[in-house]
């Protein structure tokens, strides 16, 4: 069973999705497909973990990475 998650590009950064997928590599197989308006992540093979919980946690991680990257970019802009 797999979970398909669509991340809107205006809200999530593609680099954040890639970074989160890498961070979750030990818990699930996550295939990331970047598109023009959205990035699609397919979460599967979650072993003995609940697939929905892994998908939710993965979404939180993507959001965290997006916010952290935006804040870092704002700091870099200042100097």
């Amino acid at each position: 069973m797999s979970e398909r998650i669509t991340f809107d590009r205006s809200l999530y950064s593609p680099e954040a999705v890639e970074a989160a997928a890498e961070a979750y590599a030990d818990y699930a197989k996550i295939a990331v497909t970047p598109g023009p308006d959205a990035i699609v992540a397919e979460v599967s093979d979650t072993a003995d973990l609940d697939p929905r919980t892994v998908a939710h946690a993965f979404c939180n991680h993507v959001l965290y990475e997006t916010i952290a990257r935006r804040r870092q970019a704002a700091l870099d802009e200042v100097g």
Binding site: E3, T6, D8, L11, R52, A55, C59, N60, T66, R70
Partner: protein, 154 residues
């Protein structure tokens, strides 16, 4: 988005699901940076997911980490709304005082750059002629005024 069970309208206007609650956020009132600020604070408490219909408002979906009834989910969404307002206020305040902060930082940096170092102060002190005594502070009283008797003693 992971599994989307059917939803109903809550009494506060939120869309209520079995384990989640969702609502739309108007970006003309709540800037995206404020929304991210509120989301960041809620990542520990629940699962947060943002979505957007093409050129439409942002939809925030909060999913409970454990089992939660309708009132708990409404309370969660209410707290998120309050935090969102707080983040907007902070953002606006930060924007309106940005120039004042820039001015004080620049003034502090200028002052720090022009302040003399300890070595410079010591060199200045050494270069001064400390033997000059225009007020004749180092001259003894007797030398200055002679050995006159004190009027109160006579």
């Amino acid at each position: 988005m992971p599994g989307q069970p059917e939803t109903s309208e809550s009494r506060l206007g939120f869309s209520l699901g079995q384990d989640h609650i969702s609502f739309e956020v108007d970006e003309s009132i709540y800037p995206i940076e404020a929304l991210y600020g509120a989301c960041y604070l809620f990542l520990e408490r629940c699962y947060v997911f943002l979505s957007r219909t093409p050129s439409g408002p942002v939809t925030v979906r909060l999913t409970a980490r454990d089992t939660a009834d309708a009132s708990a989910l409404e309370a969660l969404a209410g707290e998120f709304g309050n935090e969102l307002l707080s983040q907007v206020a902070r953002l606006r305040l930060s924007q309106s005082t940005a120039r004042i902060r820039e001015f004080y930082t620049a003034a502090a940096l200028r002052a720090a750059a022009s302040a003399p170092s300890v070595d410079e102060l010591l060199a200045e002190l050494e270069s001064e002629d400390l033997l000059e005594d225009p007020l004749e502070i180092m001259v003894p009283w007797e030398e200055k005024h002679g050995n006159k008797p004190n009027d109160s003693e006579s």
